[in-house]
Amino acid sequence: MHWIDYASPHSVREAVDLLNEAGGSARPMAGGTDVLVQLRANALPDVNLLVDMKNIPELNEMTMDPEVGLTLGAAVPCYKIYGNKAIEHAFPGLIDCASLIGGTQIQGRASLGGNLCNAAPSGDSIPVMIALGGVARISGPSGDREVPLEDFCTGVRRTVIQQGEILVSLHFPAPVANQGANYMRFIPRNEMDIAVAGVGCSVVLDNGNIKSARVALSSVAPTPLYVKEIGDAIAGKPANEETLKLAGQMAKDAAKPITDMRGTIEYRKHLCDVLTRRSLQIAIDRAKES
């Protein structure tokens, strides 16, 4: 690895100042499971300062309020998320992704904030965070702003985060009655692999009908893909096989995958269909139990 310096600020302001002063040569680091790998692979030749996010109180926050919802600090590692009873109860969809990123050791470090800011098309936490209506809270030299997660990733490894800004936390509205969510990916192994395709979804039921739904896909476009049309089309329809078939077909049509070593365009589109039906079914089952 080329020479780098390291700073560990204890406040958002200090972090923003450090990043701002350094211009483009500084990078935030949460768990480091992407950024250290990229530095070692010489993929970030201009970076010479890592600014550690883990000692800033706001980035470690995990507050669950039945009215306001969940505030999840951007640097909270996966294992703390699936170790939290309140999150487990209210947001099983977040548990799905936090417990399948990497393996045990990676989950000891990797954060959902880092997963989002890394903005890989295959980022496993992003689809379900979009489906849950998540919002990014960002702080920067010119103040604070909020961005809905479906607008956060702008290209492969590109996000709305501007020079000097940091992601402080993720906010998820409190689940309503009869709501359920899920994230499901397809990989050739059982664990420790990159998604060939993935689906995150959230549904709200009303007497056996779908009241509202949000579906997003991973690994089938340059960014995680929020497919608003699916929710629009299945709202008001019964939560049955026919409706799931429609959703699956729409996911297949919306996906814009490429062919690479992990799968062909046809295969990935087919996966979007199957995974959307299966993932929605789990979300529906969870909504019934909630």
Partner: protein, 156 residues
């Protein structure tokens, strides 16, 4: 540019201070600076788990931790698993079940397995395989490792 940073840690129960460059991984610090070579390097990118250590009670891959991040942390490496000449039940079970061949992966597997049994004293085979998914072994085919962990669980 400051050449080196002073880092204070507790490693295997003892205060250990060391100097390192910010770019050096905890793995490099353990092996090349402190001289604890039990922790192995396989891939150096987080995939193989040969470098697994416990940091403040959580297992991590030391190749994806900076040495400077270890400031104030408690670390357990493979050297801290046995009590003097008394092997830990997991180490004993790895020997008795022939759960190693070349041995490069073994320190990582043992540190991970000890952490698993501390969290889940009687894990199912499924739980063992998922917990150890971040540890790769190119020799044993994993079955003997799983059996060793199951065996150790009955003896702890």
């Amino acid at each position: 540019m400051p050449a080196k940073t002073y880092v204070r840690t507790i490693i295997n129960g003892e205060h250990v201070d060391f100097l390192c460059e910010p770019r050096q991984s905890l793995l490099e610090c353990l092996r090349d600076v402190i001289g604890l070579t039990g922790t192995k390097e396989g891939c150096n990118d987080g995939n193989c788990g040969a470098c697994t250590v416990s940091m403040d009670g959580r297992i991590v891959t030391a190749c994806l931790v900076l040495g400077v991040e270890a400031e104030g942390k408690e670390i357990t490496t493979i050297e801290g698993i046995a009590k003097g000449s008394q092997l830990h039940p997991v180490q004993q079970a790895f020997l008795e079940n022939a759960a190693l061949q070349c041995g490069i992966c073994t320190p990582g597997f043992i540190v991970s397995s000890v952490a698993l049994l501390e969290k889940i004293p009687q894990p199912s085979e499924h739980q063992i395989r998922f917990w150890l998914a971040n540890n790769l072994c190119r020799c044993t085919g994993y079955d003997k490792i799983v059996r060793a962990v199951q065996d150790a669980a009955t003896k702890m």
